[in-house]
C-alpha cells in the first residue's frame, strides 16, 4: 500500500467514524427513526476490501449496517444522511431508511434487512456480469451470523457450481445481535465453513487495514481472473450494540477494551505519525475539517431538505406506465 493511499484511507475511515457518531447523536435527538445499526470499529473491513477493488464499478451489496459501504462506493454522504432523516433528497427518497441505502449509479446495490438475504442476490449479480462478459465482480459484505442462514449454504453451493465472480466478505464481529458466536455456531472459524463447497477462503485481522488490503487484493484478483468465488473472513468488532435499541449488556468491559486498543483508525494514525508521514496537529486539523463538513454541509443539507409528499405515497410500488401491463399496446 502506497503512503498516499494510507493517508487517504485514514481520512476516509475517520470520516466514516465521525459520520456514524453523528448519526448516533441525531438518533438520540430523534431526528433519525427506525432501526440504526452503526459501523464504528469495523471500518478497516469496508475500506480495506473496497480499496483493493473498484468501488463505483464493481457491484457491492450488504446488510443493514450499510451507510459506510454506500459512501465508499461513491454515494454522496449528504444524500445518505438525508435518507436517515427520511427526506425526499435521501438516496432512497426517504422510502428506505438506514437499512435500505441504495446508490445504483455507483453500483451500490443496497442494504437489506433480512439476515443472509443478500447472499443469493450477490451471486445473481455475478451471474449477470458473467453473462455479459464484463470483468467487474460482485462483492457481498455480511456479518458472521448470516452464515447460519440457509441462503448461505444454498448460495455457496451455486456460486461454486457455476464459478460465479463473487467475493463474499464476512465481517466477523463475534456477535449475532446479542449472542456470542460460540454460543450460536458450531464452527467458529467462518472461513472453514466454505471448504465444504470447495470455495477458497482466508481469515485475516480485520482491524489492520494494511493486512485487510493485502488479503483483499489476493481475493479480488482471484475472483476477477475468472477463478470463481472467494470467501474472506475479517476478524473485527463493533463498538456499539447491534442497533440503537440494543443495551449492549452482554459484553465485558475487558473485552471491549481489548478491541478498542486495536482500533483500526488509531493503529493507522499512529503508524503514520511514527513513520513521520503525518503530525499529530495534521491529524487534529483533519478531524476538525471532517467534523465541520459533517455539521455544516451534511447535517445542514439533511435538516433543510423537504419531506416526501404524502400524495406520492404509492410512487415506486410498481413501474410507471409499463406498456406490457396492457399487452404492449396490442
Amino acid at each position: 500500500m502506497k503512503d498516499a493511499d494510507k493517508k487517504r484511507l485514514l481520512r476516509e475511515m475517520l470520516f466514516a467514524r465521525r459520520f456514524e457518531e453523528r448519526c448516533y447523536e441525531a438518533y438520540v435527538e430523534r431526528k433519525i427513526g427506525g432501526f440504526l445499526h452503526l459501523y464504528p470499529g469495523q471500518e478497516a473491513c469496508c475500506f480495506g476490501v473496497l480499496d483493493a477493488a473498484r468501488p463505483g464499478q464493481d457491484y457491492v451489496i450488504t446488510g443493514y449496517r450499510d451507510h459506510v459501504h454506500a459512501i465508499k462506493c461513491g454515494a454522496d454522504p449528504k444524500q445518505v444522511m438525508a435518507e436517515l432523516y427520511a427526506k425526499e433528497t435521501g438516496s432512497s427518497k426517504g422510502r428506505g431508511g438506514s437499512m435500505h441505502i441504495f446508490d445504483t449509479a455507483h453500483h451500490f446495490m443496497g442494504g437489506y434487512a433480512l439476515v443472509g438475504g443478500p447472499f443469493p442476490l450477490a451471486a445473481g449479480m455475478a451471474k449477470a456480469i458473467k453473462m455479459k462478459g464484463d470483468d467487474d465482480i460482485a462483492i457481498c459484505f455480511l456479518g458472521d451470523a448470516a452464515n447460519n442462514q440457509g441462503t448461505f449454504h444454498e448460495t455457496m453451493n451455486m456460486a461454486k457450481l457455476w464459478e460465479l465472480p463473487v467475493l463474499y466478505v464476512c465481517e466477523n464481529n463475534l456477535y449475532g445481535i446479542g449472542t456470542r458466536i460460540d454460543r450460536s455456531t458450531a464452527v467458529v472459524d467462518q472461513y472453514k465453513r466454505v471448504a465444504g463447497y470447495n470455495i477458497p477462503s482466508a481469515q485475516e485481522d480485520g482491524q489492520d487495514i494494511e493486512k485487510v488490503f493485502k488479503a483483499a487484493t489476493k481475493a479480488v484478483n482471484h475472483v476477477r481472473s475468472g477463478k470463481g468465488p472467494y470467501f474472506l473472513e475479517l476478524m473485527t468488532y463493533r463498538y456499539r450494540g447491534h442497533s440503537m435499541s440494543d443495551s449492549n449488556a452482554y459484553r465485558s468491559k475487558g473485552e471491549e477494551r481489548m478491541w478498542s486498543d486495536r482500533d483500526p483508525i488509531i493503529m493507522l494514525r499512529d503508524r503514520l505519525i511514527e513513520a513521520g508521514q503525518m503530525s499529530k496537529d495534521e491529524y487534529k486539523a483533519m478531524d476538525t475539517e471532517i467534523l465541520d463538513e459533517i455539521e455544516n454541509d451534511i447535517i445542514a443539507f439533511a435538516e433543510a431538505s423537504p419531506e416526501p409528499r404524502v400524495d406520492e405515497l404509492e410512487k415506486y410500488v410498481l413501474a410507471d406506465n409499463d406498456p406490457w401491463v396492457h399487452g404492449g399496446g396490442h
Binding site: Y59, S92, F102, A105, G117, P120, L161, L318, A319, W324
Partner: protein, 326 residues
Amino acid sequence: MAEIMYWEAIRRAHDEEMDRDPLVICMGEDIGVAGGTYKATQGLYDKYGADRVMDTPISENGYTGLGVGASFLGVRPIIEIMSVNFAWLAMDQLFNSAAKVRYMSGGQLTAPVVVRSAGGTAHQLGAQHSARMEKVFMGIAGLRVVTPSNPRQAYGLLKSAVRCDDPVYINEHELMYNMKGEVPDDEYFHPLEGSEVAREGSDITLFGYNISVHWCVQAADILARQYGINAEVVDLYALTPLDRAGIAASVRKTHRAVIVEEAEPAVGVGSEVMAIINEECFFELDAAPVRVSAVNVPMPYNHGLEKAAIPNASDVVDAVRKMFGK
C-alpha cells in the same frame, strides 16, 4: 390459429423470448437436460445451452434470490418452481427482495423476474403437494400475480410478464398442462391487468380463475339447459391487482354473484372479490354474494376425501340454485 396444449404454449413463449433477447434465461429444477416436469422448457437446453437454461439445485429460496439478483443487472430470468408447495420456501426472496426493492430504493432498482409455479390439487398428492396458495401471493405490494385459465393466456401472460419491469408471479395448475386451446399464430401479449368475460350472461355472474373458470363454464351450461338461468362467467386471470371495474360492471349487469375458488375460503380471492362488490356496487345486488370454496383442511390422500375437499361444477350449480330458490 392453432390448437396447442397449455405446456406447449408456455414453451413457445419461453422460446420466442429467449430467441429475441440473449438476457432472457430460465432456471429451475429439472428444466434443462430433463426438459421440465411439465415439459414447459422442453428442447430449450439443446437450443440455448446450460448457461441460459439452468438446472438448479433443490434450493428454492437460493435460486429465486439468484434470479432476483441477476435481474438487478438487466437479466430477465423466468424461474420455474416445480410446485407451489415449494414456492413457500422462496417467499423470503420473492416478497422481501423482489417485491420491495423498487420501493425501498426510491425507484432506483427493479426486479423484473418471472416466477412460474404449478399449484392446485391434482391426483392424491397429499397435504404437502396440493396447495393452492395464490391468495398468499396476492396481498404483497410490488408483486403482480396472474393465473392463466387456458393456453392462450398461458402464452400471452408469460410473454408480457417477461417484458414487464415488475416482478410477476404466474400461478399455473398441475392438471392443466395437457389442456388444449387456441393460441394465435402471431406473437400475442396478454394484458397483465383486467379480466375476461368467458361466457356472456344476464342473470348471475360466476367469477372464476385458473381451473375454476372451467367449473364455472360447465355450471353455466347446466344452469342454462336445466334451470333456464343465463349465467355470465368472468375469468379473473389477474389476481393482483384484481379488476375492480370489470367485477363491478358484470355485477351491475346481472345483480348476482358467486365466486368460485379451488382454495380454502379464508383470506382468499372469494373474500376479496366480495369486498370489491360491496365497495363498488352493493346497492346493485339482488341477493347476497356467495363463495364456493375448498374445505379448510390439509389435503387428504384418500381419493374420496380429496374430492370432497375441493369444489366442482355441481357445487356451483347447487349454490346458484339455492340463490334462485330453484
